[in-house]
Symmetry: C2
Subunit: 226 residues, 2 copies
């Protein structure tokens, strides 16, 4: 009886997963979903939780069901460098070499789907579609990294901030939110770090954009005026 109930819950967890259509799990058939849902755990974490740490051994990979994660590396000088903000439907935690290559920290309360890497690898080798889908996800990471390179190398502070706002707007759309208003859950400090600027410079850039009527800030949040 309890067994049945447990299985029922498990099936629900993956089969009825809100973000499944957006991720590689979409490639799994009902049987697979049934099986893997016995292995995955859902975790609710408060804002500011370190989900995984650079150089730690990889035991799990994660999908974001709800909330926002910031991803950063500590470089050889001991400086923190943010390399991405992840939204519902994004995954993280798979790296070559057995160890995580960055820190992942929640900047809002989050709900995560935690998949043991060992189980996941099993499904990867069994399911070619899953494998391909996973490859697409990695290539997408690469695409995002190169977008960040383009922003860092080319643009002025004002352009960087504007581009950042557009990117966040797109991320929102990606998980079913409206593109406007833009909900900046991260601090100015995080934005500055991501863009290779100082916090005061980001603040001034936002002010300039406001004065130029490119954006507007009111009680509803930050609005893009195009």
């Amino acid at each position: 009886m309890q067994e049945t109930q447990s299985m029922y819950r498990n099936i629900n967890k993956c089969l009825n997963c809100k973000i499944r259509s957006k991720i590689f799990c979409d490639k799994l058939n009902e049987d697979c979903l049934d099986q893997i849902s016995k292995e995955v755990r859902h975790e609710n974490l408060p804002k500011g939780s370190i989900v995984l740490s650079q150089n730690d051994e990889i035991f799990n990979i994660f999908n974001i069901i709800h909330g926002i994660i910031k991803v950063y590396q500590i470089n050889e000088n001991g400086d923190e460098q943010i390399i991405g903000f992840l939204y519902p439907g994004d995954f993280f935690g798979s790296h070559e070499g057995g160890r995580y290559e960055f820190y992942a920290e929640s900047i809002t309360p989050v709900k995560l789907c935690k998949i043991p890497i060992k189980e996941f690898r099993k499904y990867l080798s069994l399911n070619k579609e899953l494998h391909d889908s996973f490859y697409v996800a990695v290539m997408n990471e690469l695409k995002l990294a190169r977008m960040q390179i383009n922003i860092l190398a080319k643009y002025s502070a004002e352009e960087k901030v504007l581009d950042f706002l557009k990117m966040i707007s797109m991320k929102q759309v990606g998980h079913g939110q409206p593109e406007n208003p833009i909900n900046l859950q991260m601090t100015r400090s995080d934005i500055a770090n991501y863009l290779g600027l100082k916090i005061e410079t980001v603040s001034r850039a936002i002010t300039k954009l406001r004065v130029k009527n490119i954006i507007n800030i009111n009680e509803n949040g930050l609005l893009m005026l195009n």
Copy 2:
């Protein structure tokens, strides 16, 4: 007779490939190497050749046997952004979505191994080790992209240039050259573009490093004095 000779040449091409130990082809057994060597073409191109173009349909992927390739994207503003320099043993040309995501241009005379993507995919799906090896190569690209992000976001012009020199030195070692002297085959303009600086700033940074006795430039090339 001619058939035999042709096959013999083909076997030689992959089996005796100078860079095989450094790339995913290393995972193929002799039978596979024999088969695939019938599909690959070796191409010798002069300096300044555009090997592939952003947004073009993908027909081939490439391994570098000899020479140096620069890889760059044209962003929405029409600006060129260099995202990497590739050396013998590096591969390029595989992207998600069926179209190349960057330009690849030789900055020295190059010898390339050109593999039809269709054939390559066939071997990928047949050979799990090859698949894994290929995945490692993609993850390595991601690692390099993130190194570039760290350099672009954090460092001063002088630190950027010094880091660039170290990176090129490592690349040299990676394909069997000594770490010193550093052979800068790319122009100052390319270095500046890669580092998000102007050519004059790169030039000044190199001068500063020379004055500080961190590097030395003589008829042998650029020497790192550590």
